[in-house]
Amino acid sequence: METKSIMIVGVGGQGSLLASRIIGNVLLSQGFDVKVSEVHGMSQRGGSVVTYVKYGDKVYSPVIEKGEADIIVSFELLEAARWVSYLKKGGHLITSTQQLDPMPVVTGAAEYPENIADKLQELGVDVISADALSLAEKAGSAKASNVVLMGLIASKMDFPDEVWKDAIKQCVKEKFHELNLKAFELGKNI
């Protein structure tokens, strides 16, 4: 199989590391060669963060470049706009509708673009947007919006639900299993 690429983008602290680990474990359990590339350190402090997941028969480079991603999952709207150039023609962009103002917007040095999802759609991008934050709150914690989005990705990939649920259980502490499984279900049923 040719290598497939999934990119997870968001704001440092939104839980993209966990999301990439869950996807990575799902893919490994399905027998793929997998590479997951993370960002640690400086940019985790509220900066724009990006994580790459690649899988196939044999994966070489752990990074994804412009025009290469089959799926981009964005935890935040502005980040969806920032990283859309990484999407392959015909790829899917899944984004949370959450908006977090970056510092230049807060200080008035720049403006947060309006109607990002519509504008992306107009570019011919397949955009799937969801209010992951509200769903996560419904599941029990705003922090679980990353797992809500995992549910949404699961519906775009052909692996049994059980595989995803096992991976979630593997990656989160036991006392948070129920909350995250619920968040996953809510995302899956969007």
């Binding site: 640690h40 509220g46 994966v59 470049e65 980040e79 510092m103």
Partner: protein, 575 residues
């Protein structure tokens, strides 16, 4: 069992399986997790040392005492540890000694982009370079073998993409290596000139033997495919090249990057019309090729700056470009910021407000250099804040002393700030130093340090008293402030700047992200009282923004630190 592992986690696994007994490191992105994962194995003793030099000397000592040992650091850490490295190269080892150094091409989290292969060449120590997690594990084990066989410390070089990418690793069992009984051997270990002269001869002989080893070692792999193009590469660049060029070219993948083989390269190159060298940062392999009469193309295409990637290689060699769609409006940048509740925030606002020249240092507080705080004048390397301030003040005199200050974190102060403070006391400038004591090594992800009262394992440990320490080196004016109290902190800064005596202000408040720190409820804005003056935005808190013309506080982020209430003149921010 197959497991998805971070390069750094696989590195730690390699230490475990390779029979390592001691780990002593200083944190630094992207090397930190090696030691954190290593500490999870009970078979290995693991510690955070105060700095890289101490870490390396500790590992050298453990090696002399007969155990396989390890120390890890980021690229700039090796500058700090260079002194022991260059002489440990002469003494060689008893138990195997492996050193991890993690380079950061692209500077994701670093202050420079140095290529640590230069250190391997200059210290005449062998260096391996893995290209994925499985190789991290395998190369570490092989490194211990090489270290003991050739009687040398050995460096394993990582780069950010190898250290921080996960790929699968097949786990193996630990091989125990008994401690080699200690034997006094001063001519080998006591490097006075007479003995060192003899050891230098041994080192040059060793390099010859290591070069012979490099000619045949399976660490250096040739992959011959069809076509007239050959590629010489190593580490992560190999993965990029394979993805870009596939089986259309042939490869010489160098797993050992110092010393480099001669015949192997000459033989490989002789088979092709064109040979490319693909390496990040400096032209180490390329320069070697040219020196041994092999004509290659390298830096003229790829340059010396930043990371490579499959698309750069595809474009430069194949002329291929990938198409993509771009968002048509400007997308505001999102630089990292101090977290909501960060105890450093208010202090930097006060420094900026009073136009104080800030001799800065490295840590979370380096973010004080960004807008809207814009309050750092210089940042060089760990510890430089205090020594550079001393130098500035020697030149600018009394007037300068009254408007310049040094800021340094607790971990950084212990790392290398203390010797600088001694210089201020000893060589007398009326400098003012602020120690930002957030009770943790924050920037690198919360490592314990000698001021926190806990060790790497989380067990209670001896705790340095910063007050006593500063006093003991000859500073008489020492005061402790709570940075959440901005007025008190600002008053202390202004007072200490005017006194004609060196002084230290300890700004003490634990990092808001520490688990034991209890947060107050989120604050909220009374929109009737808010006059839209935007004073609260001047502290650059990520929880505060303007919604419909009024200040708004994001409740999932706010930890109730109250700095913004001190900024607000209209009492519009309340609990």
């Amino acid at each position: 069992m197959k497991k998805l592992m971070l390069g750094n986690e696989a590195f730690a696994r390699g230490l475990y399986e390779g029979g390592c007994r001691l780990i002593s490191s200083y944190p630094g992105t992207p090397s930190t997790e090696i030691t954190e994962f290593g500490a999870e194995y009970d078979a290995m003793y693991a510690e955070w040392a105060p700095n890289e030099k101490v870490a390396m000397e500790t590992a050298v000592g453990a090696s002399i005492a007969g155990a396989r040992s390890f120390c890890g650091m980021k690229h700039v850490g090796l500058n700090v540890a260079a002194d022991p490295l260059y002489t440990a190269s002469y003494t060689g080892v008893t138990g195997g000694l492996v050193i991890a150094v993690a380079d950061d091409p692209g500077m994701h989290s670093s202050q420079n982009e140095q290529d640590s292969r230069h250190h391997a060449i200059a210290s005449k120590v062998p260096m391996l370079e893995p290209s994925d997690s499985a190789e991290c594990r395998d190369f570490v084990k092989e490194a211990f073998e090489i270290s003991e066989k050739f009687d040398t410390p050995i460096i394993v070089r990582l780069s950010t993409r190898v250290a921080h990418s996960q790929s699968s690793v097949e786990l193996q069992d630990r091989e125990e290596h008994d401690i080699i009984p200690y034997k006094k051997n001063a001519p080998k270990y006591a490097m006075v000139p007479a003995f060192a002269k003899a050891r230098h001869i041994v080192v040059e002989e060793r390099t010859k033997k290591l070069t012979e080893f490099a000619e045949k070692s399976p660490l250096n792999k040739t992959e011959i495919n069809n076509g007239k193009i050959g590629v010489i590469t190593s580490g992560i660049s190999y993965q990029y090249a394979k993805e870009a060029l596939g089986d259309g070219v042939s490869y010489l993948k160098l797993g050992m990057v110092n010393p480099l083989p001669v015949k192997l390269i000459q033989d490989f190159a002789s088979k092709f019309d064109t040979v490319y060298v693909i390496e990040e940062l400096d032209d180490i392999i390329e320069a070697h090729c040219k020196k041994i009469g092999v004509n290659v193309i390298g830096k003229e295409l790829f340059g010396f700056i930043g990371e490579l990637s499959q698309s750069i290689i595809a474009e430069k060699i194949l002329g291929k470009k990938t198409e993509f769609t771009e968002f048509l409006e400007a997308v505001p940048v999102r630089p990292p910021v101090m977290c909501a509740g960060c105890p450093h925030r208010g202090l930097f606002y006060s420094l900026a407000k009073n136009n104080i020249i800030v001799s800065g240092d490295i840590g979370c507080y380096s973010l004080g250099s960004a807008a809207p705080l814009n309050s750092m004048d210089s940042i060089i390397c760990m510890g430089a804040s205090i020594s550079a301030l001393h130098g500035m003040n020697k030149i600018s005199g009394k007037e300068g002393e009254k408007k310049s200050i040094a800021v340094i974190g607790d971990s950084t102060f212990i790392h290398s700030g203390i010797t600088s403070l001694i210089n201020i006391a000893y060589n007398a400038t009326n400098s003012t130093v602020i120690i930002l004591d957030n009770s943790i090594t924050g920037m690198t992800g919360h490592q314990q340090n000698p001021t926190t009262g806990m060790n790497l394992k989380g067990d209670p440990a001896s705790k340095v008293s910063l007050e006593e320490l500063c006093k003991a080196v000859g500073i008489n004016r020492i005061r402790v402030v709570d940075p959440y109290n901005m007025a008190q902190t600002e008053a202390a800064i202004l007072e200490e700047l005017t006194v004609e005596e060196p002084s230290v202000i300890i700004s003490r408040r634990p990092c808001a992200l520490l688990k034991y720190v209890k947060h107050k409820p989120a604050l909220r804005v009374d929109t009737d009282k808010c006059k839209s003056c935007k004073m609260c935005l001047k502290i650059g808190c990520p929880a505060i923004s303007i919604k419909d013309g009024k200040a708004a506080i994001e409740k999932t982020q706010c930890v109730g630190c109250g700095i913004c209430t001190e900024m607000c003149k209209f009492d519009a921010i309340t609990e």
